[in-house]
C-alpha cells in the first residue's frame, strides 16, 4: 500500500472513539490512572485535547480514532 492508501484506510472506521462505549476520557479518571501526572501535568489541559483510554484495547488514544470494535455509546438521559 502507498502512503496515501494507508492514510485513507486509516480514516475508514465505523465510528469514532469519542462516541464509543469502550472509551473513557474523563480528566479526573486519567489523572487517577496515570501516576504522578498532576505533578507536572494536568488532565484538564488543552494539549490533551480529547484523548482517553480504550478500555477494550488498553490503548491511550485520540477521541477521533476508531476501530472495528466500535460500539456506539447510548445517549445520556435527562
Amino acid at each position: 500500500m502507498t502512503f496515501w492508501q494507508r492514510f485513507a484506510a486509516a480514516r475508514a472506521v465505523p465510528g469514532r472513539c469519542g462516541a464509543c462505549v469502550h472509551f473513557d476520557n474523563e480528566a479526573a479518571t486519567l489523572e487517577a490512572s496515570f501516576a504522578a501526572m498532576v505533578t507536572m501535568g494536568s488532565g484538564f489541559a488543552s494539549v490533551r485535547a480529547g484523548d482517553g483510554i480504550c478500555t477494550l484495547r488498553g490503548v491511550y488514544l485520540s477521541d477521533r480514532a476508531g476501530c472495528a470494535s466500535f460500539d456506539r455509546r447510548p445517549a445520556e438521559q435527562g
Partner: protein
C-alpha cells in the same frame, strides 16, 4: 443500539466552544487577562492594583515581619478572598471538586505566605534561601515525610497556577521583545528539541523499546515534559502503561534540573539572561523551569551574577514557551501521521488531522501574547524615564507580584504532589534512553545558549 450518539465527556468533538470555559488553559487566560485589564484600568485612572498585590517587604528582625502582617492584614485577607473566589469559580467550571479544592488552596496560600516571608528575610540569600527552591523542598518534605490526605491534591493544581502566572508574565514582557527575540528562541529551541527527540527515540529503539514508548519518551524530553508525553501518547496510540513511565522520568529529571541548572550556571558565572536561556532549553516542564529561572533571577537580584531577575525569566519564557511549548500540536500531527501510515497495522484507525495543531495548542499562550500586546500597546508612548518611575511601580511591579504568588502556588504544588512512592517503575531501558536525551539536551543547550547565542541572551532587555 441507539441511533443517537453522545460525544465522550471531554472529547474535542463534544467540547466545541465550551472548551472556552471547560479547560484550565482558557481559565488561566481569563483570570490573567482580567487581572491585567483591571490593573491597567486602575493605573489609567490614577490608582493602582498595588494595594491588592501585597507581599512581605524586606525584614531583618522578626518583629518587623509581625508588624508588616499586622499593618497589612486586611490586604492579605482581600487578596486571599479574591484569589480563592476566582480559582474556585474556575475549578467549578473546569470540573475539579470545589469542596476539595478550597481546603487545598487554603493550605497552598498559607504555605506561600511562609515562603514569601522567608524569601524576604535580609539574610535569606546568605543562607541560600531561594523562595522557589524552599517552596519545592518544603512541599516535597511535607508530601513524603509527613503525608497529606490525597483529596487535598484538588487544590494543588501545578499547571493551572503556572499557566495563570504565565499569562500575567505576558503583561510584564514587552511584545516588541517577543517579536524581536522570538525567532532566535524558536531556532535555538527547535534544534535542541529535534536532536533530543531523535536521541531518545533511536536510543530507545536500539535498546528494543516499542516505537510508541520511544516516541512518548522522546516528546517528554524534547518538547514540554509531561504535557508533551501525554499528548504524543494520544497521537501515536500508545499503550496506557507508557505515559506513566514517561511521567516518572520527566518529573525526576525535572526536579534534578531545578537545582542543578541554576547552581551550575552560577558556578560558571553565567549572566542572568544566558542562564535563563539555558534553563529554557534544557528543563523539561514549564513549572519546573520557572522555579529554576526564578531562582537564577534571584541570584541576579542579590548581585552574585550579572544581569537582572527579569532577564532570567524572560529568556527562559521565550525559549520554553514560545520556542518549545507552542509546537506540541505540530509534533502530535507529524507523529500521528507516522503512526497511522507506518506503525499502525490495522488495530485502530481514524487517521490524522491537521486540526491537531490547534486542538493541542497550549491555549494559555494566547493569553500570554494578548496580555503582552495589551500592556505594550497601552504604554507605547511612555518615555523610558516615565516607564521606570511611573509605569513600573504603578502597573508592572504589582502584576509581577501577583505572578510571583501564582508561581509560588505552583512550585509548592509540585512538591506537595510529588510522592516518590507513587511513581510508576520506569525500567532500565527507558531510563537509559531518556537519560541519553537529557545529556544531549543539557550539553547542546549549553553550547547554543552560552557559546553561540550567549551575547544575544545576555543583552536582552526592554
Amino acid at each position: 443500539m441507539s441511533s443517537q450518539t453522545t460525544a465522550a465527556p471531554g472529547s474535542t468533538a463534544g467540547l466545541g466552544w465550551t472548551e472556552l470555559w471547560r479547560k484550565e488553559d482558557w481559565w488561566a487566560v481569563w483570570i490573567g487577562l482580567a487581572t491585567a485589564l483591571i490593573a491597567y484600568a486602575l493605573f489609567a485612572s490614577g490608582s493602582s492594583i498595588a494595594w491588592l498585590a501585597v507581599s512581605p517587604a524586606k525584614w531583618s528582625a522578626f518583629s518587623q515581619l509581625v508588624a508588616h502582617f499586622q499593618t497589612n492584614a486586611i490586604r492579605y485577607l482581600a487578596q486571599f478572598a479574591i484569589l480563592l473566589g476566582l480559582f474556585s469559580i474556575a475549578a467549578s467550571a473546569i470540573g475539579y471538586s470545589v469542596k476539595q479544592f478550597v481546603p487545598g488552596f487554603v493550605l497552598v496560600y498559607v504555605l506561600s505566605v511562609i515562603v514569601f516571608a522567608a524569601g524576604a528575610w535580609d539574610k535569606a540569600l546568605y543562607y541560600g534561601i531561594e523562595p522557589p527552591l524552599i517552596a519545592l523542598l518544603g512541599g516535597l518534605l511535607i508530601a513524603n515525610l509527613i503525608g497529606l490526605p490525597r483529596w487535598l491534591d484538588a487544590g494543588f493544581r501545578v499547571e493551572f497556577y503556572i499557566k495563570t502566572g504565565i499569562v500575567l508574565l505576558g503583561a510584564t514582557l514587552p511584545f516588541t521583545l517577543i517579536i524581536w527575540a522570538g525567532p532566535v528562541a524558536i531556532f535555538q529551541a527547535s534544534i535542541v528539541s529535534v536532536v533530543t527527540f531523535v536521541t531518545i527515540f533511536f536510543t530507545g529503539r536500539y535498546l528494543g523499546l516499542d516505537r510508541r514508548l520511544a516516541a512518548v519518551l522522546g516528546a517528554g524530553g524534547a518538547v514540554c515534559g509531561v504535557s508533551a508525553a501525554i499528548a504524543i501518547a494520544g497521537a501515536v496510540r500508545a499503550r496506557k502503561e507508557y505515559p506513566p513511565i514517561a511521567i516518572t522520568l520527566v518529573v525526576l529529571w525535572a526536579i534534578v534540573m531545578i537545582f542543578a541548572l541554576p547552581l551550575v550556571s552560577r558556578a560558571l558565572s553565567l549572566p542572568a539572561g544566558v542562564g535563563g536561556a539555558w534553563i529554557g532549553t534544557s528543563e523539561f516542564a514549564d513549572a519546573a523551569g520557572f522555579a529554576a529561572a526564578q531562582t537564577y533571577g534571584g541570584f541576579a537580584a542579590a548581585g552574585t551574577i550579572a544581569g537582572t531577575p527579569d532577564q532570567a525569566v524572560w529568556t527562559y519564557t521565550l525559549i520554553k514557551v514560545v520556542g518549545r511549548d507552542v509546537w506540541i500540536g505540530v509534533w502530535a500531527l507529524i507523529l500521528s501521521i507516522i503512526a497511522v501510515t507506518r506503525w499502525e497495522v490495522a488495530e485502530t484507525g481514524g487517521g490524522a488531522d491537521i486540526g491537531e495543531i490547534w486542538w493541542r495548542f497550549p491555549k494559555f499562550v494566547v493569553g500570554f501574547l494578548l496580555a503582552s500586546l495589551l500592556i505594550t500597546f497601552a504604554t507605547r508612548n511612555v518615555s523610558f524615564a516615565d516607564y521606570n518611575t511611573v509605569v513600573r511601580p504603578g502597573l508592572v511591579l504589582p502584576i509581577t507580584t501577583l505572578r510571583t504568588w501564582a508561581f509560588t502556588f505552583s512550585f509548592l504544588s509540585i512538591g506537595l504532589t510529588t510522592r516518590f512512592r507513587d511513581f510508576a517503575p520506569a525500567g532500565g531501558k527507558p531510563f537509559i534512553a531518556f537519560t541519553a536525551g537529557v545529556v544531549v539536551n543539557v550539553v547542546l543547550g549549553f553550547v547554543l545558549s552560552v557559546l553561540v547565542f550567549g551575547d544575544y541572551w545576555a543583552n536582552l532587555s526592554r
